[in-house]
Amino acid sequence: MSHEMTEIKPPIASISDDDRNNDSELVKQAANGNETAYAILVERHLKQIFSVARRMLGNDADAEDVSQEVFLRLWKHAGTFDSERSKLTTWLHRITINLCIDRYRTRKLVAIDEVDEPVISGDQERSIQEQQLSARVEEKLHSLPDRQRLAIILFHYEGHSMKTVAELLEISVEAVESLLARARRKLKQALKSELAALLPHDE
């Protein structure tokens, strides 16, 4: 009697705790149509993907479109994902980066200075000056060449290691170092007056 009871389990929704923590296993299950596995993957990776897209593109609407496209591709091509070749985060980031660069370039042709002001939610009680400062930093960040901007976003904002950034951009660690150095120097130059205001004065 109890044997019969144990036989009954939902074929799609059941995911063991081990599998829940294992991206490769979840991707396999998603490839077989397991919507629960797919939902866990979206929940786990959406923040990172949206964050990179939002910082790259400068507005929520485009970042949402890109995130949606990234996860659509995950669902459609989960069967082709090879966990031996790369981690899922790397795979998703590469798709995101390519989509962002494509979108950014297309948009630049339409309106070169159409970068949205950062959206400040009501509960964030920051002063107008702080908002203006961050808007200016974001604006200057967007004036950087694509790869320099990506290097800064992935290393300084998303907190990836140098090795991971190199992997995501498919370049060497030395090349990432060079991108970062150039990006920081350019930003420093562009934000010279803002930086001076932050520096301690000797006199």
Binding site: A31, N32, G33, E35, Y38, A39, V42, E43, L46, K47, F50, S51, R54, R55, D60, E64, S67, Q68, F71, L72, W75, K76, A78, G79, P118, I120, S121, Q124, R126, E130, L133, S134, V137, E138, L141, I152, H156, Y157, E177, L180, A181, R184, R185, L187, K188, L191, E194, L195, L198, L199, P200
Partner: protein, 188 residues
């Protein structure tokens, strides 16, 4: 004797130069710096005024670029992605018995036409089937032709012996096979 190209990594000049490079790349967070350099660079920051001011400048710059607000994922985005993506997939895969992942749509490349690779694979099989059909039809007509053209004229002639008739049929069959094969080769 020291090589004229060798670098004294403990010299202040070298350390200051290296500090500039490291700050340019990694910023002021020493936990991000290469481990091989860290101790040496922290030492010069604590000892050299110029190094110290470079470090402070990098620290200020780090805090400046961190003024960009944290990114918040719109609350309903997760659900929106799930509903639209899963809905799309369901309408795409109308056939319930086919596993969703490894389906390779045969007509995805060109509508209404077989993809080039598929055409190449199917062609020999199709040609062989066509050839066998032709052989069958040809043999059928050949057997009839051995009787019908002679018709009534042959009724008075002594009946051919079975062996002779067989030889005649075999001859016709070989001839028709050769013709069919050459036709198939032409097709291919």
């Amino acid at each position: 004797m020291t090589d004229k190209f060798s670098v004294d990594k403990d010299s202040s000049k070298y350390k200051l130069q290296r500090l500039k490079e490291v700050l340019d790349i990694y910023g002021a967070r020493s936990e991000l710096w290469p481990e091989a350099d860290r101790a040496r660079l922290l030492e010069i920051i604590s000892q050299d005024r110029r190094a110290h001011s470079l470090f402070l400048e990098a620290k200020a710059f780090d805090s400046l670029i961190q003024t960009v607000p944290d990114i918040k994922v719109p609350e309903e985005l997760n659900l929106r992605i799930l509903s639209s993506v899963l809905k799309t997939e369901r309408s795409d895969n109308a056939t319930p018995d086919v596993p969703r992942n490894n389906v390779v749509p045969l007509f995805s490349n060109r509508q209404g036409r077989l993809p080039f690779k598929a055409t190449r694979k199917i062609l020999p099989t199709a040609a062989l089937m066509a050839a066998s059909l032709l052989i069958g039809v040809y043999i059928g007509y050949s057997d009839l032709s051995t009787i019908s053209p002679l018709g009534d004229a042959t009724t008075e002639v002594a009946v051919l012996e079975a062996t002779e008739q067989n030889e005649f049929s075999n001859l016709l069959m070989e001839q028709s096979m050769e013709e069919s094969l050459s036709f198939t080769e032409d097709l291919l």
